[in-house]
Symmetry: C2
Subunit: 401 residues, 2 copies
């Protein structure tokens, strides 16, 4: 019950035990096409280029940034936590000129401050995070695309921690490239990064296309733009691989593709609206339960992610001892924190297959017991009923078969 | 029965259906430590830094090169096929100064030519491929390390297509960084890249260490060398993650780690010498069977990889029609080819769980039938007995339970 990776859905685990296929076997390329179709509704998009990057969520981020940004280009990072810092760190290595508009940890950046920053720095790309698990905040993205397109800027959003758990509306937001991961609300393992790319971003990236000499055929034409700084993360080549051309790049990670496909089938089978409501109920219940214990929840209530909740470690309590007891006595993992929050908060997730009422209640009951055994005085027996009440009428568990 | 990806061992498929663990759970970090120990004998090394890069084999290659080489540094690529060209292509994007010493497709580069090239270009790194599936040639590497160390150069070898099937002797060869993949002779899925790094290479990479701001703690010191051009492929950070520091980088791809661990356990359970002998028998049998059909095997007999065999498509035969018939009638995939060999040869693999006598025999029998149905006149009934005779006394199949 940490901020991810979390327990995978049993159907996803089973999907990975199917035997492999050759990478150009029609059955395999058929599954690739299915994956493209399955992830469009999950991203809230009609984008043709909706596919997988073979690596963890961080690989998806780097693929997006290195393919979109050439050295010397100005990028505005909307930063409100560790993962905003990560965007800046990756962009530094790419050689971008980085400007940031920042919020303190526990808050988000208001749209008018983003607008002012765009007007000031005239970026080629605006990059941000949807839900930053380091602070548990979800950045509002409604209207971001319009601000970017008004000045001819592209936009990128890392949705690793929200995909499959909070609504992604890429087309309505008007954002160009969005990436995710399986290991949070999609209930799969880390190691595959879904990505969607708008036509205008695909065109921009295509101008940087460069075909490998070892597979270059007649009539293959390179783009005129600066070559993309990475081969593995070259989205132009990855699009060629996922297109009808099937131009060989990496060898698609077959078992992870099966996992990604099953994650999406499960999510769409539940229905996205029901799934988001279930995550919201889990977040409400977790927050209510923690507060009923007398604990202080971290961060701005108005912009909290539904699937992860940070709570202050009470004065006099050894945070690591509680985490150890949770794991040793209850086999429940809760999260530690990074940077300025390290040692100050725990982070409790309720994502995907873990966003179920009984798991939230078990976690709260276990935490109450561990806090009491640590000698912390707290109201006993209040957390569970408060959480049940806060859950409300939403579906309480995910289908398991 | 192509040049990989191939069918996975059933135990590997089952290993991936185990539930996930938190990335800093002691059980999970215990498995990471086991993986480090399991891959040392497979690489033929005592290197402390023996671990996984989360991505396909190509990710391992890029991680090695971008971490070893800074822009402007001279790299000598020993090139004898598509994957040598790939090394050069990745190095171009890094901004290296690339020199090559080349052999025609179907041959390897003699050591004295490598020696002369090293003396001429004084490289910072010598990079090559062990087995290049595009040409089916295996480059001899005995003595390469001494040549490099004599001039203070580092060395890198891509062993994707040989790891687990032909002997890797990193320490005896004296090479510094070697990478692989699971999807060929290790009998696993694509998506995890085993890597080993010598102490001197680790020290070199450590001088380029840069800790992310979002996780930077007290007393963490950056190196003074040029920053590594990629975050995801920064081996200094990946080593910190796999060390006792457990400094967070990506989220380890748990299911793929289970797969990599099981691949290694199976290989060591069989015994590496027996496993290499089984692959050699499979290669002998495949070659003998193809020749008994009257076909011409491609490339230099003295340096053939044991686990993949290229054979000329006979004049008048439609190579793609035969491949299609093999798949449609027999559910057997054989490989096409790249670059100068495209349309000229088929590539038949016998790797890992496919390097079994019955699979080689079934493939030969099926190919004979498909060639005959295409109207190609060939001696009938000769291939299978020739292959059985060529197999010899080696173990004929891999343990399945």
């Amino acid at each position: 019950m940490g901020p991810g990776p979390i327990n995978a859905h049993p159907r996803v685990l089973r999907a990975m035990s199917a035997d492999l296929l050759g990478q150009f076997d029609p059955e395999m390329t058929g599954y690739m096409n299915q994956v493209m179709a399955l992830y469009r509704p999950i991203f809230g998009t009609q984008n043709r280029w909706t596919m997988l990057v073979d690596g963890t969520a961080r690989a998806g981020i780097e693929a997006a940034l290195v393919s979109l940004v050439a050295p010397g280009e100005v990028v505005l990072v909307v930063n409100f936590g560790r993962f905003g810092l990560l965007l800046a760190e990756i962009l530094q290595r790419i050689g971008a000129v980085i400007e940031t508009v920042d919020a303190p940890w526990g808050e988000v950046v208001p749209l008018d401050r983003i607008e002012a920053a765009i007007a000031r720095v005239r970026p080629r790309l605006v990059a941000t995070i949807h839900g930053d698990t380091s602070t548990t905040m979800a950045q509002p993205l409604e209207g971001l695309g319009d601000l970017c397109r008004a000045v001819g800027a592209l936009s990128y959003v890392d949705a690793t921690a929200t995909i499959g758990g909070m609504e992604l509306a890429c087309d309505r937001w008007g954002v160009d490239v969005v990436t995710g991961g399986l290991q949070k609300c999609l209930g799969g393992p880390s190691g595959s990064a879904p990505i969607t790319i708008s036509d205008r971003a695909a065109e921009h990236i295509g101008r940087r296309r460069h075909v490998e000499r070892g597979i270059r055929g007649e009539g293959m034409v390179d783009g005129q733009g600066p070559r993309i700084g990475s081969n593995y993360f070259d989205l132009a080549m990855i699009m060629d691989y996922w297109s009808e051309k099937r131009l060989n790049h990496h060898t698609e990670a077959t078992s992870m593709l099966y996992a990604a496909r099953e994650c999406a089938r499960i999510a769409l089978g539940e229905g996205l609206a029901a799934r988001y409501a279930r995550h919201a109920a889990a977040g409400r219940a977790m927050t209510a339960g923690l507060r009923a214990m007398g604990l202080t929840v971290f961060g701005d209530d108005a912009h909290r992610m539904t699937n992860v909740t940070a709570v202050h470690i009470p004065a006099g309590v050894d945070g690591e001892a509680v985490r150890t007891a949770m794991r040793a006595m209850f086999e429940i993992e809760i999260g530690t924190a990074f940077g300025p929050l390290q040692g100050k908060v725990w982070r409790l997730g309720a994502m995907g297959y873990n966003a179920m009422r009984h798991k939230v209640l078990l976690t709260l009951a276990a935490l109450e017991a561990c806090l009491r055994m640590q000698g912390f005085a707290l109201p006993l027996g209040e957390a569970v009923p408060a959480a049940i009440a806060a859950w409300g009428p939403e579906q309480v568990q995910e289908a398991r078969p």
